[in-house]
C-alpha cells in the first residue's frame, strides 16, 4: 500500500540521518545511564526497596529520554523547514505521521535496549528474569510514547514554548501507559512474580496503543495543518 511505502521511505530517511551522526542515540543512552546512576544513589541498598523501585525507575527513564528524543528529532524537521516540504508533498499526511512514529520508536527502543540491562546491573534488580514479557511491554510502551509524542511534537513544531509544552502535554496523556508499564514490570520483578497480572497490564497497554493509534491517524492532519 502506498501509504505504508511512503511512510517507510520517510522513516528510513530519518534513520539514515540518525545513523550518520548518531547524535540522539548516543546522547540519550548517556542520559539514561546518568539517570540510573542518580537513582542508585537515591535509594538504599535494600533489596526489597530496590525491587519496588526498579520498575518505576525504568519507566521514568523511558519517559524522560523519550520526550527529549522526540524534541530533538522533530527539531531536525524545523531546521530548513523540512516538515513543510513533507506536508507539501503529495504523500498522504498519514504517511508522514507513520513514518515519523516508526523512526521514533526505533530510536527510543535503541535507548531502551541499553537502559534496561544497565538498570538491571546497577540496581541489582532482576529485570531480566522474564525477558520475553519485559520486551513486549517495553516495545508496546515505546510505541505508545512514539505515537502520541509524534502527533504533538509535529503539532508543536512552530509553536512558542514548544520545548516545555511537549512534556506538559505528553505526561498527563501518557499516565495510563506508564502505570501499565510499571505494573507489568513490578509483577515480573516481584519476589513472587505474577504473570497473570503482568499479562493483564500488557493487554491493557495493547488496547491503549490501538486506541491512540486510531485517534492519531484520525487527528494528525487537522492538528498539523494550521
Amino acid at each position: 500500500m502506498s501509504v505504508l511505502r511512503q511512510a517507510g521511505r520517510i522513516a528510513w530517511k530519518d534513520l539514515r540521518i540518525e545513523l550518520r551522526s548518531k547524535e540522539i542515540v548516543l546522547t540519550m543512552v548517556f542520559f539514561a545511564a546518568l539517570l540510573c546512576v542518580i537513582y542508585s544513589f537515591a535509594f538504599p541498598r535494600d533489596v526489597k526497596a530496590i525491587r519496588g523501585a526498579a520498575p518505576g525507575m525504568l519507566w521514568v527513564a523511558l519517559a524522560f529520554t523519550g520526550t527529549i528524543a522526540l524534541g530533538r528529532a522533530f527539531d531536525r524537521e524545523r531546521e530548513n523547514d523540512t516538515m513543510r516540504a513533507l506536508l507539501l508533498a503529495p504523500v498522504p499526511r498519514l504517511s508522514v505521521f507513520l513514518g515519523k512514529a516508526l523512526a521514533m520508536s526505533a530510536l527510543i527502543l535503541a535507548v531502551a535496549v541499553v537502559a534496561v540491562p544497565l538498570l538491571a546491573l546497577w540496581l541489582n534488580a532482576p529485570l531480566l528474569d522474564f525477558p520475553a514479557e519485559l520486551a513486549i511491554v517495553v516495545v508496546l510502551g515505546v510505541i505508545g510514547i512514539s505515537l502520541v509524542g509524534s502527533v504533538f511534537a509535529a503539532t508543536l513544531l512552530k509553536v512558542r514554548s514548544r520545548d516545555v509544552l511537549l512534556p506538559v502535554i505528553l505526561y498527563p496523556l501518557l499516565v495510563p501507559l506508564f502505570v501499565a508499564g510499571t505494573k507489568t514490570t513490578a509483577a515480573l520483578v516481584a519476589e513472587v512474580p505474577n504473570l497473570d497480572i503482568a499479562w493483564y497490564w500488557i493487554r491493557f497497554l495493547g488496547v491503549y496503543d490501538a486506541a491512540f493509534l486510531v485517534l492519531s491517524l484520525w487527528t494528525f492532519e487537522s492538528l498539523v495543518i494550521e
Binding site: V151, L156, P176, T219
Partner: protein, 276 residues
C-alpha cells in the same frame, strides 16, 4: 481594472481601499440598525440558573438534614469525634465535583473535535471556558478531598481511586490551560488536540484507578455502592454541581463571544477608517 468597491451598503470609504468580506447576516443586521445578538441561548441561561439554585438548595437540605451521619475512624481504629458532622458531609460535595471534572473533559474533548473539523472559533470558546471553570472547581475538589481524607483516615492524601482519578483529570485540564496560555497564536489548535487525546484517555484512567485500590474493587472503585439514603443526597449534590458548572461555563462562553464580537467590530471600524 480595479476591483469594485466595498459591498457594505451603508458604509462610506475614507480611502480608496477594498474592504474585506463579512458574514452576510452581520451586515444585514448592522444595516437594519439592530444590535448584534449576544447569545443564541436567550432565556435558557436564566432558567437554568434558577434550576441550579433550587437543586443546590435541595441538595444542601438533603445532605445536611436527611442523610444519616457516618462516623469516621482514625488510623488506629478510634472514633474521630471532632468536627465529625461537616467533614463527613464533604463527601457529597467532593464526589459531585469529581463528576463535574468528567463532564469538563468530555465537553472540552467533543467541542475541540468539532472545532478542529470546522475551525469555527465558537467551539473553541466552549472548550476553553469549560476547562477554565473546571480547573478552578477541580482545585477546590482536591483541597476538600484532602480535608476529608484527613478527617476520615487521618492522612492528607492517599491514592484512593476517586481522589486519584480527580487528580489525573485535573492534571489534563491544567495542561490544557497551560497550553492555551503559552502556546502563542496557534494555542487553540494545540490545546484542542490535548483535549481530544485527554478525553480518549479517560476510560483508560478509569480502568487503571479501579484496579489500583486497596482492596481491588474493579470498576466499582470509583462509584461506590451506597445505601438509598446516601444515594439521594449523593445524586442531588452531583446534579447540583454539574448544573452550576454548566451555568458558569455558559456565562463564560457568552463573555468570550462578546469580546470576540467587539474585536471584530473594531476591526471593521478600522477597515472603514471610521475608527483610528
Amino acid at each position: 481594472m480595479t476591483k469594485p468597491a466595498s459591498d457594505v451598503p451603508e458604509a462610506r470609504l475614507v480611502e480608496g481601499g477594498k474592504l474585506g468580506g463579512d458574514a452576510p447576516d452581520d451586515k444585514a443586521r448592522a444595516s437594519k440598525g439592530a444590535p448584534v445578538k449576544g447569545s443564541p441561548l436567550g432565556l435558557v441561561l436564566p432558567i437554568m440558573t434558577i434550576v441550579a439554585g433550587i437543586v443546590v438548595a435541595a441538595a444542601a437540605w438533603w445532605v445536611f438534614v436527611k442523610a444519616p451521619v457516618q462516623y469516621g475512624y482514625t488510623a488506629d481504629g478510634r472514633l474521630n469525634g471532632s468536627s465529625l458532622f461537616f467533614t463527613q458531609k464533604i463527601f457529597y460535595f467532593h464526589v459531585g465535583h469529581a463528576f463535574m471534572l468528567f463532564a469538563a473533559v468530555g465537553v472540552a474533548g467533543i467541542a475541540s473535535a468539532i472545532f478542529l473539523k470546522t475551525r469555527n472559533p465558537k467551539w473553541d470558546d466552549i472548550a476553553a471556558a469549560a476547562v477554565d471553570e473546571a480547573v478552578m472547581f477541580g482545585a477546590a475538589v482536591l483541597v476538600t478531598g484532602s480535608l476529608w481524607a484527613k478527617a476520615a483516615w487521618d492522612v492528607w492524601w492517599n491514592w484512593e481511586p476517586r481522589l486519584t482519578m480527580s487528580l489525573l483529570l485535573w492534571l489534563i485540564l491544567v495542561g490544557y490551560a497551560l497550553v492555551r496560555k503559552f502556546a502563542g497564536p496557534s494555542a487553540d489548535r494545540v490545546a484542542a488536540g490535548m483535549a481530544i487525546f485527554g478525553m480518549v484517555g479517560v476510560p483508560f484512567i478509569y480502568k487503571m484507578v479501579g484496579e489500583d485500590s486497596h482492596p481491588p474493587s474493579g470498576a466499582n472503585g470509583v462509584v461506590m455502592n451506597l445505601g438509598t439514603e446516601y444515594k439521594t443526597a449523593f445524586g442531588l449534590s452531583a446534579l447540583a454541581f454539574l448544573l452550576w458548572f454548566l451555568v458558569l461555563t455558559i456565562m463564560r462562553v457568552q463573555s468570550t463571544r462578546a469580546e470576540r464580537e467587539v474585536r471584530e467590530l473594531r476591526e471593521r471600524g478600522l477597515d472603514l477608517g471610521v475608527l483610528s
